[in-house]
Symmetry: C2
């Protein structure tokens, strides 16, 4: 067997163990009995270890060297390139460190859930400290290997070839652009009348509408499910995509928008090219691109007036919500209302980047400046005040609101806003390529939209770099101007 084919077998097994971990993670967040957390942490750490041993062995290093001399077409060469990237990322890390991080993060998440309820940062602090110590060991090793800062090394785990300085520049420009704009928009919206929809749609009704919309977008329930979890996510395994949401009767659209967001992620996963199943080149391309797919559906589409017209009609006709509050104009206003929220996941698309910038700045401090973690609440609140000119009232609304850090996902946050910028850039091209997109959306016809995404993004998986895909589709590298234009058009 050629060296390359041997590698394919090894990475096939590695993908299986990732898929198994995907199902265990989903179960942990949706179904698992409360007291199973420690044992589950051990199961996940074991799978991490098995996967790590598979792809980081010296044998894999040797096979990669040999495979480079074998005759491969462009796509298989891309697959080999992705294998090498994974090999470098993981062979640099000792097995026991990987296992410790997996175990510490699973434990920390459990403590965080309770700490968040009680707004009690102190309880979770020692577990977070342990996790950060381990993550610093990881980032030091990776930063030497990739010849970059500790923090950039962590971002690279989620977004290959990300550049901390470029991100910093983009985020500073965004902050400059958004800061004055937000007050301007809030002022403009001040006198708009909105009829409340609070407590007018039960959890069960929200779920029914959510399932209806998922089906309309094209989610295949023979290859996935919708469940409930504290923190919504899209997970599962290859062609077995499990998305979750949470329900809030005071804000009935928060679950629906969450469902649309996760459905955007899900469609990417479901449309990955089957001929690259279980191979590195067949995986989705970085988290920024993934987030662009969820935000394109959630923001560009779901919050457009065209979609609200469709939603208003199905609410009235299919679900018998006939009150005025479900009129197109009113639900459009609700979906585009700008607020200085404490909570990232409840915030609008205009203020959202500021939430991310806050976290980006703090992560830089944690990994490049080695701050004391007990100062996180204070630093968070200072930064929030600087960006939003508002005081944070408690840590549940501050540094305890997101699972990411407590799950060891440092360097993940910036990909959300990179995703928003990517989504705006793709949507601009999409609207050029499909001239009557709004009319299709109004009618609840999403086929052409999804086919466009499948052709231009989903089916390309990791056969190209993020930048190559952007160049192929939009003739430009990532450029924040599309996002800024989009925000101005929709909100001013």
């Amino acid at each position: 067997m050629s060296s390359y084919n041997q590698l394919k077998n090894i990475f096939h097994d590695a993908a299986l163990s990732s898929d198994i971990a995907g199902i265990l993670h989903w179960d942990m967040s949706t179904m698992m009995p409360k007291n199973s957390r420690e044992n589950r942490a051990e199961q996940l750490a074991y799978l991490s270890k098995v996967r790590h041993q598979l792809i980081s062995s010296n044998k894999v290093g040797e096979l990669i060297l040999k495979a480079k001399d074998e005759s491969l077409d462009d796509k298989n060469r891309a697959n080999l390139r992705e294998m090498e990237r994974e090999y470098i990322m993981s062979s640099s890390l000792p097995s026991d460190l990987v296992e410790k991080i997996s175990s510490a993060s699973a434990k920390c998440v459990g403590i965080w859930e309770e700490a968040r309820k009680k707004s009690d940062f102190k309880t979770v602090l020692p577990f977070l400290e342990e996790l950060v110590i381990l993550t610093k060991q990881e980032s030091l090793i990776l930063s030497e290997k990739l010849n970059c800062s500790s923090y950039e090394a962590l971002i690279n785990k989620f977004e290959p070839q990300a550049n901390e300085k470029k991100i910093k520049t983009i985020f500073e420009n965004l902050e400059t652009f958004l800061s004055p704009l937000i007050d301007q928009i809030i002022d403009k919206q001040k006198n708009e009348e909105i009829i409340s929809i609070s407590n007018l749609m039960t959890q069960e009704q929200q779920k029914e509408v959510g399932l209806f919309l998922m089906q309309k977008i094209g989610f295949d329930f023979n290859r996935g499910r919708l469940d409930t979890s504290q923190h919504p996510f899209c997970g599962g395994a290859y062609q077995d995509i499990r998305i979750t949401t949470r329900y809030n009767e005071i804000d009935p659209f928060s679950s629906l928008e969450g469902i649309m967001h996760e459905t955007g992620h899900a469609m990417y996963e479901l449309n990955l090219p089957s001929e690259w199943k279980y191979q590195p080149a067949g995986q989705s391309r970085g988290m920024a691109m993934h987030e662009s797919q969820s935000l394109l559906i959630e923001m560009q589409i779901t919050r457009s007036k065209a979609f609200k017209k469709f939603l208003s009609e199905i609410l009235k006709n299919n679900f018998k919500f006939t009150e005025n509050c479900w009129d197109t104009e009113n639900i459009y206003k609700i979906g585009t209302r700008v607020n200085k929220s404490y909570i990232r996941v409840e915030s609008d698309e205009v203020t959202y980047p500021l939430h991310v910038i806050l976290r980006f700045n703090l992560e830089q401090k944690i990994f490049n400046e080695n701050i004391n973690l007990k100062d996180i609440p204070e630093l968070w609140n200072q930064e929030y005040k600087r960006l939003f000119a508002k005081e944070v009232d408690n840590d549940s609304n501050g540094c305890l609101q997101d699972v990411h850090w407590y799950a060891g996902l440092f360097g993940y946050f910036p990909t959300y806003s990179l995703g928003a910028l990517t989504a705006a850039q793709l949507a601009s091209q999409l609207r050029e390529d499909i001239k009557n997109l709004d009319r299709q959306v109004e009618k609840g016809n999403f086929n052409e939209l999804i086919e466009w995404l499948k052709l231009n993004i989903h089916s390309k998986a990791s056969l190209y770099s993020t930048n190559e895909i952007l160049q192929q589709v939009t003739n430009s590298e990532l450029n924040a101007k599309y996002f800024m234009d989009y925000i101005k058009n929709r909100y001013l």
Copy 2:
């Protein structure tokens, strides 16, 4: 590190991969989207392979030899004995055979589900043939290793040290005892009036009552759950016990009895000794002992008049079922009604052994006589007619009714009746040790019962052989007379 401690680490990892497979199996039967079956089969085969590689390596063989010379106390020596048993069972089998069996059985189960609905044996036949060919390879290898018949080797996978000839003798005696008795009991019950409870309890109500009873028995919902599946089972992972049932409004007690049965299994798993977590000696002791725990709860307890008195009271007081049909006497009669059913899992405890004997006789034919599998429906129906003096009307009521063969579980069936005999033998001792057991059960007090089981059975795990445990608790090896006495007492 001592050889023995190295072995402990290896078997710890092996237990983790079994636990992970347990969660994936549960998910497959309860939650998984329809089209994920093939991928799940691949995940499970991969886990089988990983586990098999762990415990069947030459290194394990060498470590066992060395560990035998190390100083170990009795319990650690028992653990080493169980390690060796697992090593022999699995090192005899080549890796690719194990993987093929896992993959073929997962596929076959999927086809069987459809075939059973349509009563179409032909659809599933080629998949069953593949599975039997592979299982024969397995049984040939094991039978040489264990120096026994092919079929006895398969029984040994579920019931260590089982002896085909002894089982055959016990079953022949049972058949001789039961055959005339069944007609006698049916005749006796012929004139009993039973008030129907059909369609008087919804699925939701059945579930509520089931959850109530599970809690009463002592099932800890922080360490397990109840769900719905086509074929009820008790699965999951260490201290994360997932039981399932199925609901039938025509026969509202079938789900409750199923729940009590699986709760019996679950209490065994939940009460295993934590100091032997993830070690072979800490696992439950063979399937006959496991089945004795479920049947002791389901048959000896749940179908007793004392329990029916308790059940009648809670139905009336807690769930407002006030009609006469829920009176103690009536529900006792329903629970002890003897019928010549087609379906094993719907049959009563008197005819049940005949269902098992039928399957035992057929499995002997398949593995010792190499019959043609296409003849299974005909052989099944002949055997059913011989035992029950009735014609089978279609294969859904015949050879397609049980998942076992289609899941590759050949040799499993006899453990059901060995379990029933064991349950009767244990219950006889239990009633001597706890004189007022019936009065406790009438009051819904199961603490002393469960403590007795925990002390005498659960906490012993696999530290002793099945026979040693029976000797310790009842001063006798397995003896069918306890079961016969129990049946005569309850039914004549």
